[in-house]
């Protein structure tokens, strides 16, 4: 019984992590950017969806759409206002750009966090789920929303996979994540690829955020942990490797669920962080890293 519960709960949360981390990994693979405002973008999407439902009284579908749209817009702002100016800056030495982008996105994330806390308080917000009710799976009472979450996550990941593997533009993006210079030589403008991945990332962040809001609920305090979990997953999977991130998402998701059920929910995040430290120490390139 407990076994099945852990299996099902873990699957849902892992799928969510997978979705969140995919975009993060994609951006790093293509442009070498680690976006430390990741968690803030997700929370922004949740709060938008929540506010749409609460203040504007729109239905759950419309609310979700608004949340996704906000995630998308926030992602584009992050790229155009923060990441791109730094990448193109002449004042900063090349070797220092990485640390500047890290610092700037971290700052930006905290700005968003403060802004959200200011307008919508620090209280946890749960978005009204699209699917309600409870179903029984192998004897476990499971909220239908949990199943919905897992299904949507895999649907979106599936669509992304098709997009990347079955369309020419998508293929170019994938190729750019392996070798940016290679695609330039084939006449693909990297600047356009960057915009494309940040757009894709924005949608993924929006979807993942809204689902998270329906599933667990978030507060402005979730910004740091959400960034850290995406970061951990991506590092565990090997920076830049999307497939690695997917696998790592399940490792982390299940580790957290196991800890929560078997030890205490309070210790939820600790084993995953420990694992991360150990993996980084033993194999700094992650489990499936290329770089």
């Amino acid at each position: 019984m407990l076994f099945w519960q852990i299996l099902i709960d873990g699957f849902a949360i892992s799928s969510l992590y997978a979705l969140g981390a995919t975009g993060f990994a994609l951006i790093f693979g293509v442009s070498g950017v680690l976006n430390l405002s990741h968690g803030a973008l997700m929370v922004a999407a949740v709060v938008a969806a929540w506010a749409a439902g609460n203040d504007l009284h729109v239905g759950p579908y419309a609310g979700a759409m608004i949340g996704i749209a906000v995630g998308f817009v926030a992602s584009m702002i992050t790229y155009f206002l923060i990441v791109r100016p730094l990448q193109q800056s002449r004042k900063i030495r090349e070797q220092e750009k990485e640390i500047f982008i890290l610092t700037a996105t971290l700052l930006w994330g905290i700005m968003l966090q403060e802004l959200i806390a200011y307008f919508y308080t620090n209280n946890a917000k749960t978005v009204a789920p699209i699917v309600e009710g409870v179903v029984r799976i192998v004897g476990v009472r499971t909220p239908a929303n949990e199943i919905f979450t897992a299904v949507v996550c895999w649907l979106v990941i599936g669509i992304l996979w098709l997009l990347v593997n079955r369309t020419r533009a998508g293929k170019a993006v994938l190729a750019a994540s392996m070798n940016p210079r290679g695609v330039t030589l084939l006449g693909v403008e990297l600047s356009q690829v960057y915009i494309a991945v940040w757009a894709i990332y924005g949608v993924l962040v929006g979807v993942a955020g809204v689902l998270l809001g329906m599933f667990l609920g978030v507060s402005s305090y979730s910004v740091g942990p959400l960034t850290a979990s995406a970061f951990s997953i991506v590092v565990l999977g090997g920076l830049g490797s999307v497939s690695g991130a997917l696998i790592a998402a399940y490792v982390v998701g299940y580790l957290e669920t196991l800890t929560a059920y078997l030890i205490s929910p309070a210790y939820r995040t600790i084993p995953a962080l420990l694992l991360l430290v150990v993996v980084m120490y033993v194999s700094p390139r992650g489990l499936l890293g290329r770089r």
Partner: protein, 308 residues
């Protein structure tokens, strides 16, 4: 910065500190309180600058060291009430141990990976504090039974001279042969090794020194505030404030970090009328500095000499 001689900078600093020492005669206790906090913050920021600016280590977890020092001192006082100086010393030592722990991965993994381990260290400490509430006070915070003094003026003088001495030591260190070797190791560890420098030893030292001052300042701050909480000592936001203090003040200048800290505290205060939005505005200003003036205040003063 190089154009100003070490002694001249120290002299200017000494004059500034001496003038600041007379401030309690003319300003309210409230402002003294703010400056007290700004001075402790200044030490945090200088200690961070030593690690980042000189040893080249991207430490996103200054609050890991500060929190370790602060909580060790606070918990010790709470449990056994030894003399305060003993608590402070224990806090500094615990932070040094924390610094060594933090340094271990730094000697193996590079760049963003190390940045992540430091972030993880902060989250782990935060988790520990929240979970182990019986010892640490958890999310509510830890109240310490003792304070060094309740006099605003005395607290102000303690913080001022503590900052002045720490600053003088850290600054002299950064300008000393050791600081030069540290910079060389941070910039190009391979070459530093080929010149006969034991890079590991020097970087470890940088971590230990940075941790010592962070922990010491953290412990002292606990006995000024009379309490410790995740929000004031450990939260990533606090760490980011320290980092932006350095970035605004100018990296690799040590003393710029103090200016940055005072600026941040002053801005937060000046923006008090806008309420909770104050933090947002301070962060936004920091972002503008990062985007448009990557060398910070001190950098602006010396920029013309740096570029070619």
């Amino acid at each position: 910065m190089g154009s100003l001689s070490t002694t001249r900078v120290l002299l200017i600093g000494l004059i500034a500190v001496a003038l600041a020492a007379f401030l309690p005669l003319g300003v309210s206790g409230y402002i003294l309180g703010l400056l007290t906090i700004a001075f402790y913050f200044g030490v945090f920021a200088m200690a961070w600058d030593l690690l980042f600016g000189f040893a080249g280590e991207v430490n996103f977890g200054p609050t890991f060291l500060i929190g370790t020092g602060a909580y060790t001192a606070g918990i010790l006082d709470n449990l056994y009430q030894p003399p305060i100086w003993l608590c402070v010393a224990a806090g500094a030592l615990a932070a040094v141990a924390g610094g060594v722990v933090l340094a271990l991965p730094a000697l193996r993994v590079r760049g963003p990976y190390f940045g992540l381990t430091t972030l993880v260290a902060v989250l782990m400490l935060q988790n520990f504090v929240v979970v182990d509430a019986s010892l640490t006070g958890g999310e509510i915070g830890l109240t310490v039974p003792d304070v060094i003094t309740i006099s605003d003026a005395k607290n102000y003088q303690i913080a001022l001279w503590f900052m002045a001495i720490s600053g003088a030591i850290l600054f002299a260190l950064s300008r000393s042969p050791v600081g030069l070797i540290l910079q060389a190791s941070g910039q190009d560890a391979v070459q530093a090794g080929a010149l006969g420098f034991n890079v590991t030893k020097h970087k470890l030292t940088a971590f230990v020194i940075s941790a010592f001052f962070s922990g010491l300042a953290g412990a002292l701050l606990v006995f000024y505030l009379g309490s410790a909480s995740v929000g004031t000592f450990i939260d990533i936001t606090v760490g980011v404030q320290i980092i932006i203090a350095v970035v605004i003040g100018g990296r690799r200048t040590i003393l710029g970090a103090v200016l940055g800290s005072i600026f941040i505290i002053a801005m937060s205060e000046a923006l008090r009328p806008v309420g909770d939005l104050a933090n947002f505005i301070v962060f936004a200003m920091a972002l503008v500095v990062v985007l448009f003036f990557p060398n910070g205040f001190f950098g602006l003063l010396t920029r013309s000499k740096e570029t070619s």
